[in-house]
């Protein structure tokens, strides 16, 4: 966990409205765990005032310019342009200076080796699943169910496939893969692999539906949540979600930034899970 002033190595649009940014990030290959995130400071001037949280897509090494030079470490984030902060981010270029705080939060539990793993990613929710899949394919069968509104929301399919992950695409408008919701595909897969564990990240209605399916079947589920955050380190208490057993008399809040962003489904109070639209980053 460090705050670093660093530079952007590349920033490219990979699908309409979706950008992939590679950032110089020492130590992240060792430190970053699947499901963790960074707080990204767009620029030192205003706006935006607050940092923005982004899941880490992957870590890696840049080929050195010359033999014998140490390889530089990077992380990649993928973001969708939705508000002021991401609007400014899409204009950034190679060499631009930014600040990165991280890696932050609690990532995924990798689960038992050899068991079937089903990952469910909706749109930008695919991002934290890549490092998870990378770790899991070593000793498990991993299937990834990717959902989106249109084909534009289905990103990085080939990269998951290269890992050896079986991918299943569904779009609401049928422009790519099966027409319909990703949760339909999930039900089918769970019929076929009833002992599988599920790992999900995506919009709140999708997460909610996945939780209902898994809870009916007694399927173990971990979810990665998105939330509006000011600090990312557990100080502001702005990003809390209600934990299991929460009541007015016995309040039980969990910080998405610190106790999450990944939770076991059983840790959360699903009846009253707030559904803030975190995508706008809060500003208009």
């Amino acid at each position: 966990m460090k705050n670093r002033k660093t530079i952007i190595l590349s920033n490219q649009e990979i699908s309409p409205g979706y950008y992939r940014m590679q950032i110089l990030a020492p130590e992240y290959n060792r430190l970053a765990k699947p499901g963790q995130f960074v707080m990204f400071r767009v620029q030192r001037s205003l706006p935006p005032l607050l940092r923005r949280p982004f899941g880490i897509f992957r870590t890696g090494y840049v080929e050195p310019d010359c033999d014998g030079m140490p390889a530089k470490e990077f992380i990649e984030i993928i973001y969708k342009v939705v508000g002021t902060g991401t609007g400014i981010m899409q204009e950034l270029h190679q060499g631009d200076r930014i600040e990165l705080l991280g890696p932050l939060g609690r990532g995924f539990d990798l689960g038992d080796p050899d068991e079937e793993k089903i990952l469910v990613g909706g749109g930008i929710g695919l991002v934290p699943l890549y490092m998870l899949a990378e770790k899991m394919v070593v000793n498990s069968n991993v299937r990834l169910l990717m959902g989106g509104r249109t084909r534009d929301d289905i990103i990085t399919v080939t990269e998951f496939e290269r890992l050896g992950v079986g991918t299943y695409v569904s779009t609401e408008d049928g422009s790519l893969g099966e027409e319909g919701l990703v949760t339909q595909v999930l039900e089918r897969k769970l019929d076929k692999y009833p002992k599988a564990s599920v790992y999900a990240c995506g919009p709140m209605p999708m997460i909610d539906a996945v939780q209902q399916i898994c809870s009916q079947r007694g399927t173990p589920l971990q979810v990665s949540l998105e939330a509006l955050m000011a600090c990312g380190v557990g100080a502001c208490l702005g990003c809390v979600v209600k934990g299991a057993g929460h009541s007015a008399d016995h309040p039980h809040y969990l910080c998405t930034c610190k106790q999450g962003p990944v939770f076991h489904a059983g840790e959360l109070d699903w009846s009253r899970l707030a559904t803030p639209d975190a995508e706008c980053g809060g500003d208009q």
């Binding site: 705050n3 706006p47 939330a227 600090c231 380190v233 208490l237 990003c239 809390v240 809060g282």
Partner: protein, 315 residues
């Protein structure tokens, strides 16, 4: 003015220490309550010993749940929050939070609040017994809790009454933190000084509201929240200036400070120290950068003691 130098040419390090109500601070910079957790959240990023003092998150007798979510949203150069004073309560504070804070030599100032006068008094008495607590900061100004501090802080008579009651319960330095959501800040400031406050800190957040135009809902669940960040700084400077004119006790300036230059404004209008709030969220290292910046400013301006700068506004 040229920077003063020693014979070897290195600049003289200015005195940065200030004193507030008998409390010696190695520099005038401390976090604003509620933006720094209980210190431990920021310890990985910042040497807490560098701080003039550590101010902990607003504390109540019982643990407090806080508000529904969403609790925060960003606005132009600021943020709205309605956290609802979520905190662990005094027992857990003593048990879990105090031992961590005891490792540091920076004085610990505990911010506290109550829903009734008796709660304020009881909590002040408990805090008075704790050797690890250097001073108390009394929140009579949080705008978030419906039955909470708002009543005390916005009405001079009620403010006087509750501060006088707390004053009887503690011999530790008592700082009273004021809400800016009043007609005349000088009236409240005089009331709490008269009731026995050793120092006054201001401003707490300004009440504000933001609307999501697509859903037509308020952007935070509590509808109304507290506005903080650079957007409120000119209002805060004005109010600190007015309070400094109205009272004799030391004043601590708060409101939108994110750089040394911002802190200097408050010192020049007469604040003896400053608190940094929202800037901690933006940059966990912000306070250290501000402390370095203040020292550098003094060196560049040939100021050997930061106290020489306090209250030097030219009008």
């Amino acid at each position: 003015m040229a920077a003063q130098k020693t014979k070897t040419g290195t600049p003289v390090r200015p005195n940065m220490a200030v004193e507030i109500a008998g409390l010696k601070l190695k520099n005038p910079v401390m976090p604003a309550s509620g933006t720094f957790g209980y210190g431990e959240e920021y310890a990985p990023y910042l040497d807490l010993n560098r701080l003039g003092a550590i101010i902990t998150k607003g504390l109540s007798l019982q643990p407090k749940a806080g508000n529904e979510t969403p609790r925060i949203c960003e606005t132009v150069s600021g943020m709205l929050n309605a956290i609802g004073l979520q905190n662990v309560g005094i027992e857990a504070f003593i048990e879990d939070k105090m031992p961590f804070l005891a490792q540091y030599d920076a004085p610990v100032i505990v911010n506290f609040f109550g829903n009734t006068r008796d709660e304020y008094a009881e909590l002040a008495a408990r805090l008075d017994e704790l050797p690890g607590v250097a001073a108390l900061e009394m929140n009579i100004s949080c705008p978030n809790v419906k039955q909470g501090g708002i009543v005390f802080g916005t009405e001079a008579g009620a403010a006087h009454e509750v501060v006088a009651l707390v004053r009887k319960k503690t011999r530790k330095p008592l700082i009273v933190k004021l809400t800016p959501n009043v007609t005349d800040i000088q009236v409240t400031a005089r009331a709490v000084e008269d009731a026995g406050a050793d120092a006054i800190s201001l401003i707490n957040t300004l009440t504000g509201m933001a609307v999501d135009v697509k859903t037509r809902k308020p952007r935070i669940a509590n509808t109304i929240g507290g506005l903080s960040g650079p957007a409120i700084r000119p209002i805060a400077v004005r109010m600190v200036h007015q309070v400094v004119q109205a009272v004799k006790v030391p004043v601590i300036g708060i409101g939108g400070i994110s750089r040394a230059m911002d802190a200097l404004e408050f010192l020049i209008v007469g604040a003896r120290a400053v608190q940094v709030g929202t800037a901690n969220f933006v940059d966990p290292h912000a306070m250290a950068t501000i402390i370095d910046g203040l020292e550098e400013f003094c060196q560049n301006e040939g100021i050997t003691d930061i106290n020489e700068l306090i209250g030097t506004l030219e009008v």
